[in-house]
Symmetry: C2
Subunit: 332 residues, 2 copies
């Protein structure tokens, strides 16, 4: 386990979506965070005390979480320099990038010298087997999306909490670095070898017989030209009884791909159901979740109502309006 | 480059599909093969001289190719023991399994001691970037399949040869270990990290402006619950102008998944076109290739004719009846 409390890193980030790991920890593990570290050119705050790396260590932070993401997952010189400063200040360092902390010789050597640890959260399990798609027992829900970074993880955690609030056993199954840091376990599905995508998810959410739900975090989108392979294998491995679709109504283009429009909700839902049927013939959609954080409350509420009417499904922003309608539909 | 000539390994294999790498080399690089090695319980032959490992080395073989595949790609003790014998006899060893030769300490130590090399053909490039799906110049054809191991590689090589025979520039782009051993280059797409599937193919077949074709080897099937993620990313990365679908008409279930039927040709074609349209809106199907090697010639010919009529596409077995109809449709 990664020693807490954390100091959350924002660095020079200017992309609100790029800081999602730090933000996720600030939202869902706030009691485990002592502060945030950012440069003056970073326009964001997580509303935690701003600290230098040395101040964070002095305040008791045991691990600096490099909770920023970039497409491709490489580490710049500035990030490496800050990781060195953190180690010198006595903190462990955790990151979820494709490029591993331990593969940077300066970091590996310094950590060893100081008796500190480097945590590469995106390391996949080493004992994966290929998926088989055979029907397995248990209730599973998967969140899917029109795009990357449209709120699938938030929605998945909120669905887990909402099921528990109804007295239903439910477990959040994390598939990305942020979710894994929050849950303390999971499979970084975008980092497994391609042959093992569906197998990794079959292992993450195996057969269960207690009547409870595995609520599985989706990744990417069937409509994202970079990552649809991951989303496809995830759908097949999850073998979901139900899917919930997530969307960002103000997103102007597919993440990282200027010029490429997001798919329509109906088209995207239909495609996800079609692909999911390969291993879960009875799969059904039970709701749509919109990230309306950039909209006025009334506008957001009206959009959810209009979308619900248009798609014939409960539609909500789980962070603003709860998930009662979706859970009703799920447990119907 | 891997030193030739090769000694081809069949070992204890009893699965005709599992020996496809050795068989592919025997068919397409026959002049580079001095013989085959198999145990008495292996019912197959590649019609090459049968040799012990020591005899192979004495006959001039410079590399033992462990050309057998199994789902999951791990190495058993018998395979490791034979690799040791080969190294002791003075041969290099090549393999395309997920488990790497160099990760077996005994093999790594022995190879170093003897000044020999271990070739792990399934090592992906280390400089991959994520795909972007932007339209790029050039003609690209991709083979797709109803299942794994239904003749996509054979068809891809045959299509490349058939285009060249018409005076059209064409290059075979290999995506699996057998194809890579035959072509001497390629990307083992099922072994790349999941995030990079489509990006790996964009790199394998980049924009070209010479009017020639990249003829790209497909992998898996959109209908295979283990590997559809790979097939999806490959379709998106290939951005194919044309697809050719491959099928094994006597296959009784999806490879490795007893009880799961193969998809129908029409359904499978339609799904491949639908997925491919994300990055290649004008994609079209130009033919169907059947592996009829287990059928009488007349039966095979009748099946191709019936399938062509039913699907409205040229249909052939490229190893028996050539590819004229498919190439005509492609160049129309």
């Amino acid at each position: 386990m990664i020693p807490t409390p954390y100091l959350l890193y924002l660095g020079h980030s200017t992309d609100p979506v790029g800081i999602k790991t730090s933000r996720g920890l600030a939202v869902f593990r706030r009691d485990a965070c002592v502060g945030e570290f950012r440069y003056d050119d970073c326009p964001f705050t997580l509303d935690l005390p701003r600290m230098t790396l040395a101040e964070g260590a002095a305040a008791g932070a045991r691990t600096l979480v490099l909770g920023i993401a970039n497409s491709g997952g490489t580490m710049g010189e500035d990030l490496i320099a800050d990781a060195i400063t953190a180690l010198e200040a006595g903190m462990n360092v955790a990151a979820g990038l494709h490029q591993r902390l331990r593969d940077v010789p300066r970091l590996a050597a310094l950590a060893q010298e100081r008796g500190l640890q480097l945590f590469d959260v995106r390391d996949p399990p080493t004992d994966l087997v290929v998926g088989n798609g055979y029907a397995r027992a248990g209730h599973r829900l998967l969140t899917v999306g029109t795009d990357c970074s449209v709120g699938k993880m938030y929605t998945t955690i909120a669905l887990t909490d909402a099921l528990r609030a109804r007295g239903v056993t439910a477990d959040f199954r994390a598939t990305g670095q942020t979710g894994i840091l929050i849950a303390g376990a999971g499979v970084p599905v975008d980092a497994v070898v391609a042959d093992f995508i569906s197998g990794a998810i079959e292992q993450l959410a195996p057969a269960r017989a207690d009547g409870g739900w595995d609520v599985i975090e989706g990744q990417g989108s069937l409509y994202h030209p970079s990552f649809a392979g991951v989303s496809t294998g995830l759908l097949h491995g999850a073998q979901p009884e139900a899917i919930v679709m997530c969307d960002d109504p103000v997103r102007r283009h597919m993440r990282g791909i200027p010029g490429r429009a997001l798919p329509g909700l109906k088209e995207c839902l239909e495609m996800n159901l079609q692909v999911a049927r390969l291993t879960s013939p009875g799969v059904r959609a039970v709701g749509i979740c919109l990230n309306t954080s950039a909209m006025e409350l009334d506008t957001a509420r009206a959009l959810c109502e209009a979308t619900a009417a248009e798609q014939g499904l409960p539609c909500t922003d789980p962070m603003r309006f709860g998930l009662e309608g979706v859970i009703d539909r799920l447990l119907q």
